[in-house]
């Protein structure tokens, strides 16, 4: 019997729709271990991201990849399974960069441990990262160990005006110049950047840039991370375009929100699906119909034949009877 794995049900809109028995794993929750000096937290997969954030904040530490919380119910398991990261991602890494180990159930109901709680570990294939972003199609996550980082001493958000092409140029230039960037976005002719680090270093860096300080920065980045910003408030079809950061403004009509210093672009458009995919492929990226599209169709960018075959073979290696989230990522598996 096929199963649809469900944690906090905060990202039901994401991925393909599947017909399967609901498998609610949210009750498997709680922090198992957390030692600030180890920079590692191990949690059961049903632990909410908000609980983890709170526990870490008490020790001035954080999940550096700023996972989105589309609802307070969002869990660590869903966070890892969906593999989504927030505004800090281009500068510190994505959720997959911070996953150190997992305990999971494969499709044969075997409990398996991969990776661990140490920073360096090259024993065996990197299954923990393979599971990250696999949308639950390779296993049911039971526990995850995540690397955490100290919260920066000081953060400052700056705001300035520019057109899109200039903004993309600037954001890329700064990233190559030791500016302590921790987020950079562009929307509606405004660039917002966040600088993080030691107070004096941040202030010194800010004084070099001809931008003004924006006092509501914390709320701005949170609203972008969790899609509470006005741009995301309507029910229009929303595309997530992951492209090389230096990609020029793209020839697709619609409303744009650029973040990750140019590497992630949100688009609301009525252009046909094929057209969006074609333009993004040409730019060397991939396009996900993030929200509001037809969930019975392809949501994620189609894979090349060779890569698709490897996916099928890997699915077969973990879940030969195709029980787990079959069809959530791609129709075939």
């Amino acid at each position: 019997m096929p199963l649809c794995i469900q944690g906090g049900n905060s990202k039901a809109f994401y991925g393909r729709k599947i017909e399967a028995e609901q498998f609610d794993v949210s009750a498997n929750s709680g922090v198992i271990s957390y030692e600030p000096t180890e920079l590692v937290i191990t949690v059961r997969a049903g632990t909410t991201i908000s609980e983890i954030n709170e526990v870490l904040a008490n020790h001035d530490q954080m999940l550096a990849f700023e996972p989105p919380c589309f609802s307070t119910t969002a869990t660590a398991g869903g966070m890892v399974a969906c593999g989504l990261s927030g505004p800090r991602r281009p500068y510190v890494g994505a959720v997959r960069d911070f996953v150190l180990g997992i305990k999971c159930l494969n499709g044969k109901a075997e409990i398996l441990n991969f990776g661990g709680q140490v920073m360096k570990n090259v024993a065996g294939y990197d299954v923990s990262r393979l599971m990250t972003g696999a949308m639950g199609t390779l296993g049911v996550l039971l526990e995850v160990s995540l690397k955490v980082l100290p919260t920066p001493d000081y953060e400052l958000t700056l705001k300035g005006e520019a057109d899109d092409a200039t903004a993309i140029n600037l954001m890329n230039q700064w990233a190559g110049q030791s500016v302590p960037l921790s987020a950079a976005s562009f929307y509606d002719n405004n660039i917002f950047i966040r600088l993080s680090g030691h107070r004096n270093a941040v202030i010194a860096a800010a004084s070099q840039l001809q931008f003004s300080e924006y006092s509501d920065g914390e709320h701005y980045w949170q609203s972008l991370r969790d899609h509470e910003h006005d741009f995301f408030s309507d029910n229009k079809k929303l595309w997530r375009l992951s492209v090389p950061s230096t990609t020029k403004p793209m020839n697709l009509h619609g409303q744009w929100f650029i973040e990750w210093g140019g590497a992630l672009r949100w688009l609301k458009t009525s252009e046909p699906v094929e057209q969006v995919r074609r333009v993004v492929s040409m730019a060397g990226g991939h396009a996900t119909l993030f929200r509001g599209g037809n969930q019975n169709d392809d949501v994620f960018h189609p894979l090349s034949a060779g890569i698709g075959n490897l996916h099928l073979a890997l699915k077969n290696a973990f879940d030969p009877k195709k029980i787990l989230n079959r069809g959530r990522l791609y129709k075939e598996f």
């Binding site: 398996l112 299954v127 972003g133």
Partner: protein, 482 residues
Amino acid sequence: MSLFVDKLKRLLPKELIIADEELLRAYECDALSAYRQLPSYVVMPESVDQVQAIMRLCHQENVPVVARGAGTGLSGGAMPVEDGLLLSLAKFNQIVHLDPDQRIATVQPGVRNISVSEAVEKYGLFYAPDPSSQIACTIGGNVAENSGGVHCLKYGLTVHNILAVKLITVTGELLEIGADSLDSAGYDLLALMTGSEGMLGVIVEVTLKLISKPLNNRVLLAAFDEIEEAGKGVADIIASGIIPAGLEMMDNGVIKAVEDYLHAGYPVNAAAILICEVDGAEEEVDEECRKVKAILEVAGASDVRVARNKEEGDKFWEGRKSAFPAVGRIAADYYCMDGTIPRKHIGSVLNRIDELAKQYKLGVVNVFHAGDGNLHPLILYDVSIEGELERAEELGGKILEVCVEVGGTITGEHGVGIEKINQMCVQFNAEELVQFHAIKNAFDPKGLLNPGKAIPTLNRCAEFGAMHIHRGELPHPDLERF
């Protein structure tokens, strides 16, 4: 095999095929020279088309293939297999494309690690992973082993610093994994490939992420009378919210060996020293340096020196980087282990290693990446004394068992290869090993790529191995090992 070589000659000019036994000898091992196997042939293709053709032929003829870069690996991962082909990627040595705006470099797998940073220095950029063998080791091997280095505490391992690879599958198909964008559709095959020790495919191109060079750095050297205090110093630095660019520890045995060798001015009576490097903007370096000094003093350091300039900083590092050759002078032979443990156990594990060493009547000295908890215990022995080799091997096994017992791993950065294949049975249970084999099978159903490495079969859970060094003679003795 003779029919096979005829077919090979149809694919490649004959100067790219080595079949002469004298010449094959150069390829019979990597830097773990205790394990040797002569390959049937070595091929040195020059183009992706040739690699594809070779793979198609080997797949058709069921001939095993081992890919090899510079052969600097420490775990026997590039050791040839019997009746197999050794595929050298030495001629894939070009930097294909540099894009300073996008901060990426596309390189062939035979490009040496250090030459990437050298090529992009003029743009104020660098490639962060810096394994100690970086002047010789190549990017393809770095991806295969998920190499780290002294600075990976702050800047990450290879897996954190690559964007894409071009892969030739066992059937000769060319696949592009990853992209110039920060993520890709579908499974994270890039992560799966990184550290897969040549078991899943042959890498023919890699796109590397470059980062901006820190404007300043400074080095501190702290001496401790008790090893636990040094361990505490490491934990306290991390707990304070500082992630140093490097944080290394040496125990008394190594300090003395290095001082004899180099006269670097190390405190020879200290039980342990820590070398800590901080980097960033000037304000940041000043502040972190001040904080680290205070933390180490509170932790019990008897002396903390801050390098006054680059030359002094380099001198602090020089001793650390010369540790392996220095130890080679005090013992006839040594084994180098590579376990990683949670930082909090550094002091207690070092003490347990000491107790074990006494029990086995052998010396052990320690020099390692303390910031990541990555230990490199060096077991001293003399192969000419009967029984010492066996005792050293057994002791090595016990040390790795201790690493696993405290929540660590049998290998932090050297890879499993052939060397630690038995210890994989300590770390993983049968179902996990079966899952690894299923992954291998998804890529390589015939088991032709680097067979017998990295993942043990279930009926093979016996003795332990380690890096064998005879009379201080390291393969690649010119390379720093740390």
